[in-house]
């Protein structure tokens, strides 16, 4: 396996599949060989636009004919676990788009099956390999900020974007039937930017959700505080403020910093060296120098063609593929994927607790009573067309995923 390009398959040709196929194409040592969707027209458009040689509407057929080494799962969330389990049992390694699964129970099942089959699973925490985030981690590791005591993480969600509008307009959209609804579909990004520094298994949590948009009948805002033994975190998920941010602030015992993943800029917060009124001159001067440095860096990256929105995703793919290659000649248990199996379960478990607390506090105000709706949606007894994939796991494929 180490001598040849990995053969990559993808199941679920919705919106996020575009990003996956673009980045697989850029990734070193891998070729997208097949796409699959229960709707042949969706498989067709993905294959045509990204030059993928094979397209399928049956997962079994894709496994049999394309023989992928790795399959990316980009289907609706409620299909992630059963699909991943099927793929792992078929002997392929699996990359799962975030959020990993509907809940932590499913996450544990997937990991158990992966370990039983000696296969790797990677969850799509792609911002962890974003170049600016990697730089932040290097700065933290250098000790420049001292010990990190607190992390603020912000995600602005464009509820009026094409996907958000579609969710708002569709009472039966699968996103609205998740225990954490629209928020669950996206909140893992700002959350794992906190849990990267907050390593407690079960931090204490205070969370609530609400909506500021009268026309939207489900929560679009989340405020959550996490308290670990050494580090605390606060998470802001908002759909009403602009610009739509992907910002994280770190507060250390020596200094702080703010990283904006959208603009690929890092700003430091440091104590001044000069007293009194001089400090008021020193601060803007330092910011000016910092801005000049950031501009120079961005111009250089632009010229070199390094400013890709999904650069972190590409790097995460490459890192995971490297783990897959290692797993072909080493004991799988000794291979450490870029996002560990334990971390995938831990983040999912924290999300479960956040949503439970929100539901408990908000009563019926939530996604059609949240968990109840989710249970109904995911019940194998249901027999709507929308759930056909749940009833026939062999053909689990899906559509329309952010």
């Amino acid at each position: 396996m180490s001598e040849r390009s990995l053969r990559i398959g993808l199941v679920g040709c919705g919106q996020i599949a575009d990003a996956h196929l673009q980045q697989i194409r850029r990734a070193v040592g891998a070729d997208a060989v097949a796409v699959c969707d229960s709707e042949p027209l969706l498989a067709r458009q993905a294959a045509e636009r990204f030059d993928v040689p094979m397209q399928f509407s049956s997962l079994n057929a894709m496994l049999r004919e394309a023989r992928p080494d790795v399959v990316h799962v980009t289907t609706p969330v409620h299909t992630h676990a059963p699909l991943s389990i099927k793929l792992l049992n078929a002997g392929v390694h699996v990359y799962v788009e975030k959020p990993f699964t509907v809940d932590a129970d499913e996450a544990r099942q997937v990991i158990d099956v992966a370990e039983q089959n000696g296969r790797l699973v990677c969850i799509g925490h792609d911002q962890l390999l974003d170049p600016e985030w990697v730089r932040v981690c290097e700065i933290v590791a250098s000790g420049m900020l001292g010990e990190i005591h607190h992390v603020d993480s912000v995600l602005g969600y464009p509820i009026n974007g094409p996907f958000g509008r579609h969710v708002v307009a569709s009472p039966n959209h699968w996103v609205r039937k998740l225990p954490g609804g629209l928020i669950q579909n996206t909140v893992s990004h700002p959350l794992y930017r906190i849990t990267e520094f907050l390593d407690d298994a079960e931090p204490s949590i205070q969370a609530r959700w609400f909506s500021r948009l009268p026309e939207v009948p489900f929560p679009t805002e989340l405020r959550a505080n996490l308290q670990g033994e050494k580090v605390s975190g606060s998470l802001l998920f908002t759909s009403t403020t602009k610009p739509y941010q992907r910002v994280t602030r770190l507060y250390g015992t020596e200094a702080g910093l703010e990283v904006d993943l959208n603009t690929q800029v890092i700003r430091f917060h440091q104590s001044g060296r000069y007293p009194g009124a001089f400090a008021k001159l020193e601060a803007p001067y330092r910011q000016l120098r910092e801005s000049c440095g950031n501009l120079k860096r961005s111009v250089g990256r632009f010229v070199r063609g390094e400013l890709h929105y999904f650069e972190g995703m590409k790097r995460l793919f490459e890192s995971f593929y490297e783990s897959v290659r290692e797993a072909s000649f080493r004991e799988v248990s000794s291979v450490r994927p870029p996002v560990t199996h334990q971390e995938a379960v831990r983040v999912t478990s924290i999300m479960d607790r956040i949503f439970k607390q929100c539901r408990d506090e908000s009563g019926d105000f939530a996604f059609g009573a949240g968990q109840k709706a989710a249970e109904e949606k995911f019940s194998p007894a249901r027999s709507t067309g929308e759930d056909r994939s749940r009833e026939t796991p062999a053909e689990l494929v899906g559509q329309g995923h952010l």
């Binding site: 458009q45 307009a169 890709h308």
Partner: protein, 331 residues
């Protein structure tokens, strides 16, 4: 005669609805559950006639059956205009395939699909060639923008499904539809960039059709005899060019900052865009790929003779009046 109309709450659909009702045709409107029905209510009140409305999901067989049953003619206008490609396919292409199939099973006499002039592939045509219904469709529509790609596949799927199921299909391909709430400036004139418009060329004719003219053409496609299996361009007469459009826009008192890209520079820009995009692995997408720019901004002439001859269509509101009306409403 009873007809099914999809997309009745849309920009073109509400004019088609009004036109059908004015001809005393019984109409059933198939709408999404989330659709706002104000415009249908307004038309019902204004014309004092019955309009049947069904809320259905046209991507499902049951939804299509409920919509189609008892209708002789289907006018299929519903389509998404924006969003990613997969979303456009889910909302436009998949429902079209289902609706054509179910219509054939339900005894529908004729199915009218509103496609787009964008589905043509004029890349190989010489400059100033005439684009009529014999012009080939784009062989590589996936290299175009998401909307055009979805319309090309929608039409392809409709033809294929109609042939397989022996359904009479008529396709109309309107140009850029303008009118009241949609304004007169489209991407055929130029592209928005940082608060300015990049005017692309400027002397090539813009294939426009005023929404009310277009609506009458769509309706005639369902009524005219002997046009089964035909395609019709719906484009107004005396088309203006991009410069004239911008002049009219500014003359109405509106501000517009324009950067003119001359026609001869478009191929060079396209080449640079493609090379840079390839070199940077897509840091900037291929917005101006040669395949797209040739289809969008090459100087061409557009024919509406077939619609006039076989449908008896006339764009009754001349282009000057249509632009004036549009600019007096919004812009």
């Amino acid at each position: 005669m009873k007809v099914l109309l999809t997309g009745a709450t849309g920009f073109l659909g509400k004019r088609v609805l009004r036109e059908l009702l004015s001809r005393d045709i019984e109409v059933r409107c198939a709408v999404r559950e989330s659709s706002r029905l104000d415009c249908i209510d307004d038309i019902r009140t204004e014309l004092g006639c019955q309009i049947e409305v069904v809320s259905v999901d046209l991507a499902t067989e049951d939804g299509c059956h409920e919509a189609v049953s008892g209708c002789e003619v289907v006018y299929h206008l519903a389509a998404s205009l924006d969003g990613c490609t997969s979303s456009l396919f889910q909302n436009s292409v998949v429902p079209t395939r289902e609706l054509v199939r179910v219509a054939s099973e339900s005894g529908v006499r004729r199915f009218i699909l509103v496609s787009s002039l964008g589905v043509y592939g004029p890349q190989k045509l010489p400059r100033n060639a005439i684009v009529d219904e014999s012009c080939p469709v784009d062989e590589a529509p996936h290299l175009r923008d998401a909307y055009t790609y979805s319309k090309a596949v929608q039409e392809d799927v409709a033809w294929q499904t109609a042939r397989e199921n022996d359904l009479s299909l008529v396709v109309v391909r309107p140009g850029v539809i303008f009118g009241d709430e949609r304004g007169i400036l489209s991407h055929r004139v130029g592209l928005p960039f940082g608060g300015r418009m990049l005017r692309m060329g400027g002397r090539q004719r813009i294939p426009l059709t005023y929404v009310e003219n277009c609506a009458s053409g769509v309706v005639l496609a369902g009524l005219a005899a002997g046009v089964d299996g035909q395609v019709f361009n719906l484009i107004d007469d005396a088309l203006p060019n991009g410069r004239e459009m911008i002049r009219r826009y500014r003359r109405s008192g509106r501000q517009l900052r324009v950067i003119g890209i001359p026609q001869f520079a478009i191929p060079l820009l396209s080449w640079l865009n493609e090379k840079y995009s390839d070199w940077t692995e897509g840091q900037i997408p291929k917005v101006l790929s040669r395949h797209r720019t040739d289809a969008m901004w090459k100087p061409l002439r557009y024919s509406n003779e077939k619609a006039k001859r076989l449908l008896g269509w006339q764009p009754s509101i001349d282009i000057d009046t249509a632009i004036t009306r549009t600019l007096s409403f919004s812009g």
